[in-house]
């Protein structure tokens, strides 16, 4: 298990950095917000990212993938974090695409996976129902009916859910909320009768949505994988997503740290750069330490995603470690970045606030610090 990026992955990082710096700087994210773009991302940018092969990275060549491994997603998400770039890479490819690849039958894969990789269709994963992430507590009811299923219930905080072409919906077909057995996955096209999608505008100005499923009738071909056995694939896909969010969080935290460090060296008060004050120096050094530890945890999580010798428990431990540490660090760094910038730090004019808002949302998404601490403990 290597904790460095390979030369190939470094090349990918370079190209992602150049592409996003040119096409999706922070000012582009600011514009998306000011123009209140429903999609929350720039569609032409996403099309070009697909052209670059980003959506093909983790999938085998049979499906039009690059077979580059999940670790190859790391540099991309770090760059997206640094530039605050929005794209449906997480929702449609890492979460939705992975589930189709892991659990889908060949008809589903033929129809959807290649379209996802090709960027023609967009998927979103509907898993959370309550405020906090906790997939085992899935309660949305799915009953076998005739040749198919009838789904009824609500989903909260579906990432990139607005305007998606189809949803992977986690539903309960047996057992109780809290049981990992009895969770099934269904593929629900956006135009299905009884499905209502409404935008859920969050502070990060990206695309989030609520889903209402009102007695939605689905055919038997909508079931993704085995009835009641959706948990394994769901956790595998979620762990990929959590790791990508950890990479995005670390990218944001590193960018914020560098910006803040530069400010400490140039902002003069009391006739001296404020970076000469020991109280700020020590806080900066502490951030540097947390970033270094986060980096190690992230690299281990990225490596475990592609390591077939690791079982689900070992993977869960490393992924939760990374999401916990990167999330915690990003929050600390973002809070310090605002505080150390002083008055200008609380203005909308400074980009720091945009990072702060995205950091808080990404930290909470797919499990916050406390969730991942508990999950690590359960797998220790």
């Amino acid at each position: 298990m290597s904790l460095r990026y390979s030369d190939e992955q470094r090349l990918l990082a370079d190209s992602a950095r150049d592409f996003l710096a040119a096409r999706s700087p922070v000012s582009a994210q600011r514009r998306l917000r000011d123009d209140a773009v429903d999609l929350g991302f720039d569609a032409p940018l996403w099309r070009d990212a697909v052209e670059l092969g980003w959506s093909a990275i983790p999938f085998p060549e049979d499906f039009g993938g690059l077979d580059f491994g999940c670790k190859g997603l790391g540099p991309i998400f770090e760059s997206m974090g640094r530039n605050l770039s929005a794209s449906p890479l997480l929702s449609s490819v890492v979460l939705g695409g992975s589930l189709l690849h892991l659990a889908g039958n060949s008809a589903q894969q033929t129809h959807w996976l290649q379209a996802v990789i090709g960027g023609e269709q967009r998927l979103a994963l509907a898993v959370d129902e309550r405020s906090r992430h906790d997939p085992s507590r899935t309660a949305l009811e799915a009953k076998a009916e005739g040749q198919g299923y009838r789904l009824h219930g609500d989903k909260f905080w579906v990432v990139d859910g607005f305007g998606a072409d189809a949803y992977v919906v986690a539903a309960r077909t047996s057992g109780q909320p809290g049981d990992t057995q009895g969770i099934s996955l269904f593929l629900v096209p956006a135009d299905t009768q009884g499905l209502t999608v409404s935008a859920l505008p969050l502070i990060d100005s990206r695309n989030s949505a609520r889903l209402q499923l009102d007695q939605v009738q689905l055919g038997s071909d909508a079931l993704l994988g085995t009835l009641g056995e959706g948990w394994t694939a769901l956790e595998t896909a979620l762990d990929r997503g959590r790791t990508c969010l950890a990479a995005e969080l670390l990218g944001m935290a590193e960018q914020l740290f560098e910006t803040t460090l530069e400010y400490l060296k140039t902002r003069v008060q009391f006739d001296t750069p404020i970076g000469t004050f020991q109280v700020l120096q020590h806080r900066a050094a502490q951030m540097y330490i947390d970033l270094a530890l986060s980096r190690s945890a992230l690299m281990a999580a990225l490596a475990t995603l592609d390591d077939a010798s690791h079982d689900a428990g070992a993977r869960a431990r490393l992924v939760s470690l990374a999401k916990w540490k990167a999330g915690d660090t990003a929050i600390k760094v973002a809070n310090e970045a605002v505080q150390m910038h002083g008055g200008i730090g609380v203005t909308d004019e400074l980009d720091v606030g945009l990072y702060l808002k995205r950091v808080r949302v990404a930290q909470s998404c797919l499990g916050d610090r406390d969730f991942h601490c508990e999950r690590y403990s359960a797998h220790a």
Binding site: L3, T276, Y288
Partner: protein
């Protein structure tokens, strides 16, 4: 076959034939062999391993042969170290003379000093201790005051050194002394070496809050030190000290590769003392313990990453600078949780009512206070990171915000 490949094969074969199997396991504190005038060995294998490595001249493999080394090139040294790591050879001995003083003598010593002092070090015959800190010169080392006054052909040394590890068991000391009281503080310091059996030298062990310790305070009362024992230029000791401390860090990073089983498995202990958390306070304790264990996991991954990056030729200066601080602070945090989890079981001093492990936890907790202070206190480590790694500027004199 290339010469270096041949060297690797020869080295591998020699180590296989000469390193006793019992010397290829992790070490407890009592297993350390200190090279000295009267070396003590915990077992016969340790003696054999010591003598074989000594006769092979591999205590100081890279030193020139004329001074007792084996004259290995950097490339050969790297091969030897990797072959020793491969079969987990214990260090045959530990000696500050080799890791700390030796490089300084090789770089700054006179020819006569090198011929006199180096070969006995290379044979592991002299145990050296370090006289740097003083009661009033801790983190601010350059403010040291122990005086070495010019008395013709010798110096007369008065004052005291503190935190000298094994001062009472060492044969010789290298020490920083003040030879000019009128110069700016960094410019009046010299490096000398002296025989710990000289008249007027009195080492006195220091008891810590954790009990007996290896630390001593060493008192010097009109101790005569021949001028031939001045290393490098008069009043030029500060540069030599900086050079020596660089080697300390290098030595410590090598030493870190050998496993010293001082760790307690926090989550395993939690399962023992708080087996099934039920109350709010037990859940809170469990959450604190998990956070500590996760930070420790992230630290261990960082050690692994640093090794990997070093092998790939990346710059690991930044990572090196955080390791001591992170490790010692994490140990402190861990003991805070353990104490709350074990409560009365963590406060035993010496009584059959407590298990060996419980007593060890009490002592290790108390000892963990020393670790965030010695070898550069945590606050000094933070200064180093801020200034050397992050490039934050020094404060102007007299500026008070």
């Amino acid at each position: 076959m290339s010469t270096i490949e041949q060297f690797r094969q020869d080295t591998r074969a020699w180590l296989e034939a000469n390193c006793p199997l019992s010397m290829r396991t992790g070490m407890a504190e009592g297993d350390v062999v200190w090279g000295s005038q009267n070396p003590q060995f915990p077992c016969e294998d340790a003696r054999l391993w010591f003598e074989r490595m000594r006769d092979k001249r591999w205590f100081c493999p890279e030193w020139p042969e004329e001074y007792g080394g084996a004259g290995l090139s950097d490339e050969q040294l790297a091969v030897l170290e990797s072959e020793m790591r491969r079969i987990k050879c214990r260090p045959p001995q530990i000696n500050l003379g080799i890791w700390m003083l030796g490089p300084v003598l090789l770089a700054f010593g006179s020819e006569e000093q090198k011929r006199d002092l180096l070969p006995p070090i290379a044979r592991g015959e002299v145990r050296w201790c370090q006289g740097f800190s003083e009661p009033n010169a801790g983190s601010d080392l350059a403010s040291l005051k122990m005086a070495a006054r010019d008395a013709g052909d010798h110096f007369v040394v008065d004052g005291s050194k503190i935190w000298t590890s094994y001062g009472d068991k060492s044969d010789w000391m290298y020490a920083l002394v003040r030879t000019d009281f009128s110069a700016p503080k960094h410019e009046g310091i010299s490096l000398i070496v002296l025989d710990m059996r000289s008249p007027g030298v009195t080492p006195q062990p220091i008891d810590l809050i954790s009990g007996k310790s290896a630390f001593c305070q060493v008192f010097f009362d009109s101790v005569k030190v021949p001028k031939s024992q001045l290393i490098g230029p008069l009043n030029g000791g500060w540069n030599l000290a900086k050079y020596l401390l660089q080697h300390e860090r290098k030595a410590m990073s090598k030493f870190g590769e050998f496993s010293l089983p001082s760790h307690f498995d926090l989550l395993a202990l939690m399962r023992e003392y708080v087996p099934a958390p039920q109350t709010m306070s037990e859940h809170a304790l469990q959450a604190r313990a998990t956070a500590c264990a996760m930070n420790e996991h992230a630290y261990n991954l960082t050690v692994q990453r640093m090794g990997e990056e070093a092998r790939a030729g990346d710059d690991i200066g930044g990572l090196m600078s955080i390791m001591k601080l992170v490790h010692t602070e994490q140990e402190r945090d861990k003991f805070e949780v353990l104490l709350d989890a074990m409560a009365g079981h963590a406060f035993g001093w010496e009584n059959a009512a407590f298990s060996e492990q419980q007593l060890a936890i009490t002592r290790s907790w108390l000892n963990s206070y020393a670790l965030t202070i010695s070898g550069g206190a945590s606050e000094i480590q933070l200064n180093v990171i801020a200034k050397r790694v992050l490039g934050l500027p020094d404060a102007k004199k007299g500026v008070t915000p």
